[in-house]
């Protein structure tokens, strides 16, 4: 046995309380990691959002469609907009899985001829792409979605319509992989032509929005203004902005929530420190008599204080480590997977940054040490005779 061994053995003094405290600390660390990971995933969403890709939507709201002919302004039929490199258009289809209807994924009817020119970070094997272009009922899906429902190339899939009612039959012709973190890896891409031709006359030839890449990201704002100017005197006006601007606008609304989460994560640490402080203080109070014995044997107050600090740090370390241990499966495999698959547009990539786990572990240990400081100090002021007289 050693002095530090003695310090650590004291956690066995009251196993139940030690275990509860360690578990409590672990849960606090899990919550902290969860919140911090959410915040950083959110920020990563902004950082990764493309600045060189513009979305042109209905001036009022993206829910309202634009006439298909608007696209003629982009693709060269009526000249080009200076600075625009490539453009495509698509409709939000909003299909659902026939049996697992709560599992959300984005279904998009896209222009097969131009879509992948505008989204080069989605990569499809050339033969699969060619097959898809040939088959009007073909679909290309993200690899996350393929995993989620166990779909593979060649499968026939029937989806349930919502915006466009009825059963929709598709054949999976390809699976795309994301070469950038910002890409939603769970999309279901179908042919716009197929959708359009299936619609009643009155609903045809409407598109959800236009997406364009630009040559120079720093001119995104000017180019956006130039696009919108084209439609100024039309009956439906447009609003164009970069993906990054759009994400930021969305996050602007959420910024109050973000700072609230930020504060909550600190409050959780504060509660964790109180739990630790309470446990340590209770243990120290119960062991006053024991410390009296140690003092009688010749141990010094600094030994006693060190034992208590060591014990606190050790409990903090155990709690922090356990917290991280449960955080990885819960945050990355469970919740993270779910968010990536279901809210991929906002959380394309949800995983615990190393800096967050390091911070969490460091905080667990440091705050446990801090919580042990007061009991350690008061124990170091114990008088040997008073302590011995206290029957523990």
């Amino acid at each position: 046995m050693t002095l530090s061994g003695l310090s650590i053995k004291n956690i066995g003094h009251n196993w139940l309380r030690t275990i509860l405290t360690v578990v409590g600390t672990a849960i606090a660390i899990l919550s902290f990691v969860l919140i911090r990971t959410t915040l950083s995933a959110w920020e990563a969403g902004v950082d990764n959002a493309a600045q060189d890709r513009l979305s042109t939507i209905h001036r009022v709201t993206f829910v309202m469609p634009l006439p298909k002919r608007y696209f003629d302004e982009f693709n060269g039929a009526r000249g080009r907009i200076p600075g625009v490199k490539a453009s495509t258009f698509m409709n939000w289809v909003g299909h659902k899985h026939p049996t697992r209807e709560t599992e959300f994924f984005a279904t998009m009817a896209v222009d097969s001829g131009t879509y992948f020119d505008v989204y080069p970070e989605m990569s499809v094997p050339p033969d699969q792409l060619a097959n898809w272009k040939e088959n009007r009922q073909g679909a290309i899906i993200g690899e996350a979605l393929a995993n989620q429902f166990g779909w593979k190339v060649g499968d026939d899939v029937t989806l349930t319509g919502t915006i466009y009612p009825g059963d929709w039959k598709y054949k999976i012709e390809g699976v795309y992989e994301a070469t950038k973190k910002s890409v939603d890896r769970a999309q279901f891409l179908t042919h716009w032509d197929y959708l359009n031709d299936s619609l009643p006359e009155g609903r045809r030839d409407m598109i959800g929005w236009v997406a364009s890449t630009v040559d120079d990201a720093s001119r995104a704002a000017d180019i956006s203004a130039a696009i919108d100017a084209k439609f100024d005197d039309q009956d439906i006006q447009t609003r164009t902005m970069s993906e990054k601007a759009m994400t930021m606008e969305f996050l602007g609304g959420a910024s109050a929530i973000l700072s609230a989460l930020d504060i909550v994560s600190l409050v959780i640490l504060g509660i964790m420190m109180l739990i630790l402080g309470n446990t340590i203080a209770m243990g120290v109070r119960e062991r006053t008599h024991e410390y009296g014995v140690l003092l009688a044997l010749g141990f010094r107050p600094k030994h006693i204080a060190t034992f208590i600090l060591g014990e606190g740090l050790f409990i903090g370390l155990l709690g922090g480590a356990l917290g991280l241990l449960i955080s990885y499966p819960i945050v990355e495999q469970g919740l993270g997977r779910w968010l990536e698959e279901n809210m991929g547009a906002y959380f394309p990539y949800f995983s615990i940054p190393t800096s967050v786990s390091a911070l969490a572990l460091g905080m667990a240990v440091a705050l446990a040490g801090l919580a042990a400081l007061v009991p350690a100090y008061s124990a170091s002021k114990l008088d040997v005779i008073t302590a011995l007289r206290r029957i523990g």
Partner: protein
């Protein structure tokens, strides 16, 4: 041995201490006009009142007296846990009444072995680890510490219980582990405050026998506070304390 000390011995105890070797040896504990007072609500209470005492090296002394007479207070002073309000106290050649906290703690860890009424073993440690405890303050290496702790447990006859925790031991066994802890660092003096107070007759006799052996075979000076006349019988000298004065 001084005259007061001799006169303080009861006739019975002195008769028992027939071997004169004890009386011839020089005193290891010398108290001169020791006063220890406590203040209770502005009222001064002289628990020990100008007490003079000499204890010869190698003796086994019992201290009796009514509750509240100051036995524990005196024992604490001699053991260097406390300092007298006035007077001088010399133990094992050191004037403990003049020492600072740190020096006193170091001195205690080398000179005194403690046996407590409530055994006071650390519950999370095994018997062996409890006995090893005082050695953590020495410069001994870990294998040497362990060896010495095992020897001390052998002396008290509990080598086979060394990996047991206090909870897994009987009261008598706990107290024997307590005694092993008191001797592991080979102190000159053992102080025991009612060491049999919590024990049944049989366990008490075993503990007393052990203390006798430590006194005779290992030449430890033992000062034992007790309420038990049978325990006092084992001592070579019996002193009685009443209202802060030796009778």
């Amino acid at each position: 041995m001084s005259e007061e000390a001799t006169s303080a011995e009861t006739s019975k105890a002195s008769a028992k201490a027939s071997d004169t070797t004890t009386a011839k040896r020089s005193p290891i504990i010398v108290c001169r006009k020791i006063v220890r007072s406590f203040w209770r609500a502005k009222e001064r209470l002289d628990v020990l009142d100008e007490l003079d005492l000499e204890i010869a090296e190698g003796s086994f002394e019992a201290l009796m007296g009514p509750s509240g007479s100051g036995k524990t207070t005196l024992l604490n002073l001699i053991a260097g846990l406390d300092r007298p309000t006035s007077g001088t106290l010399t133990v094992a050649g050191t004037e403990v009444s003049a020492m600072g906290d740190a020096a006193l703690a170091r001195w205690r860890s080398q000179t005194i072995g403690f046996v407590f009424q409530h055994f006071n073993l650390i519950p999370v440690l095994t018997a062996l680890e409890n006995v090893e405890l005082p050695l953590l303050l020495t410069s001994l290496g870990s294998s040497e510490r362990k060896k010495r702790a095992q020897i001390a447990l052998r002396v008290v006859g509990l080598e086979d219980r060394m990996h047991h925790r206090p909870q897994q031991l009987s009261g008598g066994q706990e107290q024997r582990v307590g005694i092993a802890r008191a001797i592991v660092h080979d102190p000159k003096i053992i102080v025991a405050d009612e060491p049999t107070g919590e024990l049944d007759r049989k366990s008490a006799d075993e503990v007393l026998h052990l203390l006798e052996r430590l006194n005779k075979e290992f030449d430890k000076t033992i000062l034992m506070v007790t309420h038990d006349p049978a325990a006092a019988e084992r001592a070579t000298v019996l002193r009685k304390l009443d209202k802060g004065k030796l009778l």
